[in-house]
Amino acid sequence: MTDLSAGGVPAARPKSSLLTEDARTKKRNAAERRFKNYGLTAVLLGVAALIMLLISILGNGLSAFQQTYVTLQVELPAETLDKEGNRNRDEMAKVSTFGYSPLIGAAMERAVAEAGIETELAADEQGDIISREAAAQLRNFVLANPEVVGETIEFEFLANGRIDGYLKDRVNRESAALDKNVSPAQLDLTDALQEEGILEKRFNWAFLTMPDASGQRPEAAGLGVAIMGSLYMMLIVLGLALPIGVAASIYLEEFAPKNRITDIIEVNISNLAAVPSIVFGILGLAIFINFAGLPQSAPIVGGLVLTLMTLPTIIIATRASLKSVPPSIRDAALGVGASKMQSVFHHVLPLAAPGILTGTIIGLAQALGETAPLLLIGMVAFVREYPSGPPEGFFDPASALPVQIYNWTQRSDPAFVERASGAIIVLLIFLVSMNALAIFLRRRFERRW
């Protein structure tokens, strides 16, 4: 004490009132206010970006969930559709869609005439209100139900994409006048048909269930095959990445000696998480397709590639949640004579499970939205056939949700903008519900000690 006071003691603080802010305090408070404002601005920018994204996607895509249908009475004459008259499916399959198109045109003309609608359009121009897909639709229906041949049935046809666009305000008379695919007169007829109740806009289940369609038929394009492909890939990723990832993390965290080799492994797992996804695509192409000879465009290859991508995420999340289990629990288990494995499986793993599940779901959500590696392994192909049931279906060609979106944005018909945005909405719904599930699980099972 004594030698301290002998040295250079700082001058005593001048007396000041607590009721007035001194200069330093003012400066500090101002700095704090500024920082709070920066933070708030950053948050607002983020929220604004999210809102803009949602508005643009919902504005473009919500209409994809509505579709225009035309309901017509179609005559199915036995003499053209079933020449042998024996209702044999294989015989009937010889009649191509060209055999069905005139029937639809005739049905359309009859409907217009019956409703007493005046139009200068020729019969084939009237028929163009219906989708080019309609003949195939009708043919598939007849082949599936041969008994309807010879009767007149009521059938719902998809309206042409331009007509559908007119009902969704994408097409108007000015644009139709410049468009060789649709004429203003057809739009007039559409209005009249809508008044008669022949043509109407309804919820579009087919968007979620039907396969993709060609570039000329946006109205028939659906996400069915893409959803199946994505689902199969997620099953493969879950089935492979979860057990491998959890086993690897338990070994590294609980059993492995801490030495240079495990350090290197640890660093490399973190690095793996940062590898660009397209690199995994090249790896998948080289190893799974070229070397192992697995089929292209198949969910098995996509699933394997995405497993490689998801593994680091799951390993990192699992190790973090294993680390967060207090060591006292391990001590307690070892102290009563549990073996290492018993202490891990009876005590540590159950406590870490919510964290592992959360990490897994987040990893799956990442994998679900991943596009680049799938492009390289051929999942970008145009696939109209549904894959068969698992496990054979894993080897059938399929599409995937993000790739389907990519595909549709490449097509020229403006109706595909709507389709792509609709597909984004579907993908976002999947992702949001997966993340919500992860949050729910974490809240529900998180234990505090």
């Binding site: 391990r330 307690a332 288990a333 070892l334 102290g335 009563v336 004579g337 018993q342 009876h346 000690w449």
Partner: protein
């Protein structure tokens, strides 16, 4: 023989339970325990005292080989329980730990029911043939842990919901459920309030009837209250070991005297 033994006990010469010879412990390059020789008697409470970092907990953890879980830790020398070297190649540490129970500094019940906390050890060691046996073991252990009356109506409530003192007694009950022969306690009262401490100390005194108890404590008063023998550790050396009364009233080594009078530590 039996008669002889009784006489021996009376003259304070109980048979040795744990004997350590030339024990050295290294944490990497750090020589944490140096040349410790000690003979711990059966059915006695032995207290390890000493300033922080003197190695008393480290030595305690050598007795049930909990140090094996630390990668960098290396133990040399001999520690024998009932004459059997516990660091022998043939000894499985898991089997050893069933014989040498341990209670930790912070109460660490499993986040499971009170019943499952106690039943876990007997279950993994196959001590109970059926549910009825297990019920008997659980009740007996909880009674030995002096907590039965407080929890008998809520055996299926979570063990983590008990108060700190109750949790620690639950942990003691859990440790005795596997029928150990030695009970190691690493500062069992440091996280407890004075009332809970008194309850645990009373319990330790009762446990002496059945087990050899080794307790590490920071409180010299506690060592004086509960133990019959006391070992004073300083800087990794076992400085002095003897009757508790002697250590506290008439220590031989000046370092011991300095510590118990509060001049070092």
């Amino acid at each position: 023989m039996d008669d002889l033994r009784i006489v021996e006990r009376d003259v304070d010469a109980k048979e040795t339970k744990i004997s350590a010879k030339n024990v050295q412990v290294y944490y990497g390059d750090n020589h944490a325990i140096k040349d410790v020789n000690v003979e711990i008697a059966d059915k006695t409470v032995t207290a390890f005292i000493g300033p922080s970092g003197c190695g008393k907990s480290t030595f305690l953890r050598c007795i049930n080989r909990m140090n094996d879980t630390i990668d960098v830790c290396r133990v040399e020398g001999d520690i024998a329980i009932d004459g059997e070297d516990i660091y022998d190649r043939k000894v499985d540490p898991v089997q050893l730990r069933a014989k040498v129970g341990m209670v930790f500094q912070k109460p660490n019940p499993f986040p499971k029911s009170i019943y499952d906390n106690i039943a876990y050890g007997p279950r993994i060691h196959g001590l109970a043939k059926n549910k009825a046996d297990l019920d008997v073991i659980v009740e007996r252990s909880l009674r030995r842990g002096a907590i039965w009356d407080e929890v008998k109506d809520r055996l299926h409530a979570p063990g983590t919901g008990l108060s700190g003192g109750q949790q620690q007694r639950l942990c003691i009950a859990r440790a005795v459920a596997t029928e150990p022969e030695v009970l190691l306690m690493d500062e069992p009262c440091s996280a407890l309030d004075p009332i809970a401490t008194a309850q645990v100390e009373e319990l330790i005194d009762e446990l002496r009837q059945s087990y050899s108890v080794v307790i590490v404590t920071h409180s010299m008063q506690q060592a004086a209250r509960v133990s019959q023998k006391t070992a004073f550790f300083h800087l990794g050396y076992l400085v002095e070991y003897g009757e508790t009364g002697t250590i506290f009233t008439n220590p031989e080594d000046p370092r011991t005297e300095s510590y118990i009078t509060g001049r070092i530590g």
